[in-house]
């Protein structure tokens, strides 16, 4: 009896809050968006601490890349953010292209037609990515129907991608120096016209739907109750955690690489960068889950605007691939960042002049955003954790790489 009492008192000392419960949310959980594992220390329903554990999807992509030639790495980037694989391809290709022209002697330019195709496809891909985010966020909050609406529309987009590159999820479409020519679309051909018409039809069909979705979910009072004012990420906090993309703009910071550090041909298009503002009617404050979510809904409209401008201009003539004998960048290193749907996608590449990189490092936006989860979730409830994960919109393939 004496003994047991002693051990008991020890236990009490070790565990000061007797009413605490430790729950593992994930890696197998319906709404951790893949294989994120959260170690929740709960006091009833209130979260004392949510500690993210990552690495369940780690594939050593960066180490792997050291033994691959540059074009061979592109399919690996597909698997990073598999929801927006086009943008991942593009980010990597942009970095390599930049690396290639580091040495003044070598000079090549991505053909104009390829640039247009890249912007068009990547903006459509951004819509597809945000659609998925919208749908799953609805499902996280408990509304099942928006999810199926989102997938219905995403399906049409995937068919468009399939038509141009043959794949639906991992495209490997954007190549170093241009875009893939597996399914060639001749300039000025009927095929090209048909393809652009189909995109136009999709945009005409989809644009009014965004307003419908806003009515269905964004302004739904239960949805706003659940998401407004929850997990407010202040501008300082967003900056210090390195949150980018919609998460940063959701915190009220007006920053978009497409506009502020224009790469490719983004400076030719006219588009706005949605930034969160307080919406008192709905109770939304800058930096809460609702703002982050709303940025994505607004960005879809901007992507449509860009795509429409391209469709209005028409694709320029010319080749879609630069005249590159071999991808063999000069000695040097480069860090290049681009605006992927989930934020700044950066690639740091060190080259020693061989066809394979010496070192490659990806800077994935979700990883940085996820690191804010621990601070954001303190003192909230279990249901709020789900709302936060959905609103920062992580893709585990990109976090773990």
């Amino acid at each position: 009896m004496e003994n047991t009492q002693q051990t008991e008192s020890k236990i009490i000392e070790l565990k000061p809050f007797a009413d605490e419960m430790v729950v593992n949310m994930g890696p197998q959980h319906p709404s951790t968006h893949g294989v994120l594992r959260l170690e929740l220390r709960l006091d009833g329903e209130v979260v004392r601490e949510a500690i993210p554990h990552i690495g369940y999807l780690h594939r050593c992509f960066e180490k792997h890349s050291e033994n691959l030639s540059y074009p061979q790495i592109i399919p690996f980037t597909d698997r990073m953010d598999y929801v927006a694989a086009m943008n991942q391809n593009w980010g990597f290709c942009l970095a390599v292209e930049k690396l290639m022209v580091l040495d003044e002697s070598k000079d090549f330019e991505v053909p104009e037609r390829a640039e247009y195709l890249r912007v068009l496809i990547c903006e459509l891909n951004r819509i597809a990515s945000h659609l998925l985010s919208f749908g799953t966020y609805g499902m996280d909050i408990g509304a099942f129907t928006p999810f199926l609406y989102a997938f219905r529309d995403r399906e049409r987009l995937l068919l468009l991608f399939e038509k141009i590159c043959g794949a639906r999820l991992t495209y490997n479409y954007i190549r170093i120096g241009g875009v893939s020519e597996i399914i060639p679309i001749e300039p000025g051909s009927i095929a090209e016209q048909n393809y652009l018409d189909e995109i136009e039809q999709f945009l005409d069909y989809f644009e009014p739907l965004i307003d419908q979705y806003n009515e269905l979910l964004t302004k739904n009072s239960i949805f706003t109750e659940r998401t407004t004012g929850v997990a407010v990420m202040s501008a300082e906090m967003a900056l210090s955690y390195g949150a980018t993309g919609p998460n940063l703009r959701g915190s009220g910071i007006d920053w978009d690489l497409r506009r502020d550090e224009p790469y490719s041909i983004y400076d030719r298009f006219d588009f706005d960068v949605p930034v969160a503002v307080d919406v008192p009617e709905l109770g939304a404050v800058v930096g809460d889950c609702w703002s982050r979510y709303k940025i994505r809904m607004d960005e879809m409209k901007e992507s449509i605007r860009i795509a429409r401008q391209i469709l209005a201009e028409g694709l320029p003539d010319g080749p879609v691939m630069a005249d590159l004998k071999a991808v063999r960048p000069p000695k040097g290193e480069i860090y290049f960042r681009s605006e992927a749907p989930r934020g700044e996608l950066g690639f740091y590449i060190v080259s020693d002049g061989t066809p394979k990189p010496v070192r490659l490092k990806g800077r994935s936006p979700c990883f940085s955003a996820l690191s804010a989860l621990q601070e954001l979730s303190r003192g909230l409830m279990v249901a709020d954790i789900i709302a936060i994960i959905g609103s920062i919109d992580i893709v585990m393939g990109e976090v773990d790489r």
């Binding site: 009492q5 008991e8 009490i12 007797a18 009413d19």
Partner: protein, 102 residues
């Protein structure tokens, strides 16, 4: 069925309740014993109301209803105290809760 049937049942319940209160070492078990006792009393009231008083007089049932209400109040306060004790001592066994100052 005679009145005695009910009285014997209620006597058994009462005894078991007393036994639980005397021997169980967990405050919640003791609460359950008390509930048994209260129930045996209520059963007695209802039985007497049926067998002893004239059929139209159902005062016994009303007393039993009051008994149920009291049991509810008692359980609520009891469990609140148990929770407070558990937070303080990390145990709800009465013989371990022996500190007068919190």
């Amino acid at each position: 069925m005679t009145l005695q049937h009910y009285l014997v049942i209620s006597a058994i319940l009462f005894t078991l309740g007393i036994f639980a209160v005397l021997t169980r070492r967990n405050a919640i078990s003791i609460l359950m014993g008390i509930e048994l006792i209260l129930n045996s009393c209520n059963l007695n009231f209802a039985a007497f109301s049926r067998f002893v008083t004239p059929p139209a007089d159902i005062s016994g049932q009303i007393i039993a209803i009051f008994g149920i209400v009291l049991a509810a109040a008692e359980a609520a306060v009891f469990l609140a105290i148990i929770l407070a004790i558990y937070r303080e001592f990390g145990s709800i066994r009465p013989n371990e809760v022996d500190t007068l100052k919190g």
